[in-house]
Amino acid sequence: MNALTLAGLSGAALIGMGLYGFITNAHLLRKIVAFNVIGGGVFLLFGAVAHRGAASGMSADPVPQALVITGIVVAFSATALAVALLLRYFKETGTPFLSDNCETSGSRSDVERS
């Protein structure tokens, strides 16, 4: 058991924990947080799997590292989009939860304006 194995197993555990939070938390912001926990786990698992190829003279394989850096930036972009969607939803309905009986009779902000 070394740092590498430990990182891979942590990644697997983080994916499971994040998935649980993503399904069971009804609060939409909590779902976004849980989704990012999954993301961190996936990156870590990928990094640990790819690190096994680092034996050839370098401290770590640069190609998967570049992939993960790209992944983190894209994950942030997606999170920012999700948060903007959540805030707009919150402005319209006044609740951070998805509801079955979502009223569709005009948004609150439109009413405020008139």
Partner: protein, 313 residues
């Protein structure tokens, strides 16, 4: 690096505990704070995997800017009152936990049963490193071998900003995002807002410049510049810009446009898209990085600010 196993084990336990807290805690604000700690702990794990470039990115973007974004969102939406028309019973939660555990165990078994020797492109990356004039192989992958990925990534950030702006109400279009701080920020915050941004600018530019030979680069440096900008706005020292501003939009798309322009020029000067002429690779890469850094900083700042919410007077 000679680090006792106990350090790695406690780091792993701490990371999992903080992640678990972020999932399980009741208040969404506490969950976001735990998530930020989670990002910083993950950065430490990346250092232990000798991936310092990734660690810097995870700490700055995964923990820092994502944290700033989530904190302001948590402050706006609060905890809310759950719609309990269809609560998830104890049996249901247990069932879901069981399935998630099965997934974790499956991934762990797959990870442990991988063969010893892995395919790798590291020797190839090391072999051609001198031709790029760079010393950091990760920067070489990002801006030379796989430059197209990075070009598209910088475009993704612009698209994300466009996507966020589309959530603006019609009558706010062309205005500015709401100020992320309070109307009357506390004095310590103003003090930090004055003292930290110069340091942030210095560190950000340093990370971009040093990224050619040491860990660092446009994304890490740009994120720190964005953080310095956000801090001045939280402290009320600067106001969020109007989204219709010409300079703002130019700064936003300038980096990717420059990158694309040099890429197309590659057809003429180096016989291929995104190829650099021999001997001048490093100069071209530094010019691209400088432009992309500005655009990344502006894009990250705008993403953290959200859609326009007020009209400028």
């Amino acid at each position: 690096m000679n680090v006792p196993f106990g350090f790695d084990a406690s780091l792993a336990v701490l990371t999992l505990a903080v992640a678990g807290y972020a999932i399980a805690v009741r208040e969404s604000f506490a969950a976001v704070i735990a998530f930020i700690s989670y990002g910083l702990l993950l950065a430490l794990v990346w250092v232990r995997l000798s991936a310092v470039d990734v660690a810097l990115t995870e700490g700055a973007i995964g923990g820092g800017v994502t944290g700033a974004l989530l904190i302001s969102a948590a402050a706006k939406v609060g905890n809310g009152v759950a719609d309990v028309s269809r609560p998830l019973g104890r049996v249901g939660k247990f069932f879901i936990a069981f399935l998630c555990a099965v997934i974790t165990i499956g991934i762990a078994v797959a990870f442990l049963s991988l063969p010893e020797s892995a395919p790798t492109l590291a020797p190839l990356a090391a072999e051609h490193l001198p031709s790029t004039g760079l010393g950091n192989p990760v920067t070489a992958v990002l801006l030379s071998y796989r430059a197209i990925d990075t070009l598209l990534e910088s475009v993704v950030l612009v698209f994300a900003v466009v996507g966020v702006w589309t959530f603006a109400s019609d009558h706010h279009w062309g205005g500015a995002p709401e100020s992320p701080g309070r109307d009357r920020p506390e004095e310590p915050l103003v003090f930090l807002g004055q003292i930290l941004p110069p340091l942030g600018i210095l560190i950000g530019v340093h990370l971009v410049w040093t990224g050619a030979t040491e860990p660092g680069g446009a994304f890490q440096g740009g994120t720190i510049l964005a953080a310095a900008w956000i801090l001045t706005m939280v402290a009320g020292l600067t106001k969020p810009p109007s989204i219709g501003g010409r300079w703002l939009r130019f700064a936003l798309v300038g980096g990717p446009a420059l990158f694309l322009g040099i890429g197309v020029a590659g057809f003429v000067i180096a016989k291929a898209f995104l190829a650099y002429p021999e001997g001048y690779a490093k100069a071209f890469i530094l010019v691209i990085e400088a432009g992309v850094t500005v655009s990344i900083a502006v894009a990250l700042g705008l993403l953290a600010l959200g859609p326009p919410g007020r009209r400028l007077p």
